[in-house]
């Protein structure tokens, strides 16, 4: 007996950089939701696990013409070509995988043996290695959520689009004899927390979802689109220099979509 397929989805995000204030709520919402470990000294950003990381972009001009833009960067959940995202194809042990049903790039830490090839493959630095054993000070392990399995030393981890929230939402739907989720039933932790409402999450190919429309905004762009990674995170910015920062351009090229307003 083969049951009906669940409808194909491509979960993705649109992050409005005009709205983002760089407050960091998405970062911490993610850490708190996903049992991300922390250490005494987190100032070496190349060893600090932050599935969602906020980059500070500047326009490179001098005082007082400098501008700042914050760019939150979760995992891009690249689709690449037919699901062959940069990291998925290179993983030698199928610890990371592209799911055609949800469009989510999964990472299974218990399968990962820590070769870090995926990290070399990811141009977004969205993947993090557990250089240390995760240690919670005594008592604080009580704050860990059972819905996300804590990772051990020596494996790679990354943003999962809070997939456990999908699992829980699906479980609830299943108990109501439904197979499909409503838009608001599955939202990531960062989306929910963002005080600026800068993040919109949903199914990029579902016409009824907000992201479907917003991603067509003329301000929209994706990071490193030219590398054909086909990411599922869209960014919106009305500033040309910000859009240019999203990819490499030759000096004479325009980002295309809208005329720069400055």
């Amino acid at each position: 007996m083969t049951q009906e397929y669940r409808k194909e989805k491509k979960y993705g995000m649109v992050i409005d950089l005009d709205r983002c204030t760089g407050c960091g709520a998405c970062m911490v919402a993610c850490m708190a939701e996903n049992n991300v470990p922390f250490r005494d000294n987190e100032t070496d950003k190349l060893k600090s696990i932050t599935w969602m990381r906020i980059y500070q972009l500047t326009n490179g001009k001098s005082y007082p013409n400098e501008e700042i833009c914050y760019l939150p960067r979760p995992c891009m959940h690249c689709e690449g070509h037919n699901g062959h995202s940069p990291c998925v194809t290179v993983c030698p042990a199928v610890a990371t995988d592209y799911d055609r049903e949800t469009g989510i790039v999964s990472q299974i830490p218990t399968r990962c043996f820590g070769c870090r090839y995926c990290m070399a493959a990811c141009p977004y630095h969205a993947r993090y290695f557990n250089w240390w054993d995760p240690v919670w000070p005594e008592g604080m392990e009580k704050s860990l959520s059972p819905n996300v399995s804590p990772r051990m030393r020596g494996v790679v981890e990354k943003c999962s689009f809070c997939f456990h929230r999908y699992q829980l939402a699906y479980e609830k739907a299943a108990s109501e004899d439904r197979r499909e989720l409503r838009e608001n039933e599955y939202q990531t932790s960062c989306t929910q927390a963002c005080p600026a409402g800068a993040i919109t999450f949903g199914d990029l190919i579902n016409k009824n979802h907000a992201v479907y429309k917003i991603k067509k905004d003329p301000r929209a762009f994706r990071l490193l689109e030219r590398l054909k990674t086909n990411p599922k995170i869209y960014y919106l910015s009305s500033r040309e220099w910000v859009r240019r920062a999203g990819d490499n351009y030759h000096p004479e090229e325009e980002t295309g979509k809208i005329k720069s307003h400055q």
Partner: protein, 217 residues
Amino acid sequence: MVQLTNSHKGNGNSGWTILFFIVGFTASLFAGWIVFPKLLYSKKQQPIDFNHELHMTHVDNGCESCHFFREDGTYSGVPKLVQCIDCHQEVQGDTGHEALFVEKYVSKGKEVPWLIYSRQPDCVFFSHAAHVKLAKMDCETCHGHIGQSTSLKPYEYNIITGYSRDIWGKNPENYLGLKTNTYDRMKMNDCAACHLEETGRKSSVSTEKDGCFVCHK
């Protein structure tokens, strides 16, 4: 044919050589197949013996009377003390285990540290709702006939991994991938095989099976 005679000079003890080979071979086979599994698994007794069969006669709703779904669709699993207290505030019957239960746990308000045969490791997400409500599976498919048991078997677990032996498969032939009953073993491949057969989903790009995140968290 094995030649046991001392026919050539220089290798006059080939008979012994072969005998020693056979001894080494059989001994290690014995050790590997019989002794090793005995050493690898340890047993624990459940804190309280529980009679499923007896309880089934006292409840109206079958398994779901105690192992129920919560409002948010999650599954409650092994009952908590609060549920037991509904009936066992006082000793009901005359079994020693019930008396012990009331004395040791109910009166002290302490949860019973049940050892769960079917507990999956932390990296596994399992939705009872999806299996029971959507796929309409019955409990026996995975849990066997525990509902008809009169007492709890000892909990066997692997001393290295801590896994319950029910997950790993009880019998040596399970190592070879053989199963007689659907509930003989609950390893990843068993879940995946059933998923492929029942749902036909091949959403994983890498494995052409169900996606990893369906069962992992």
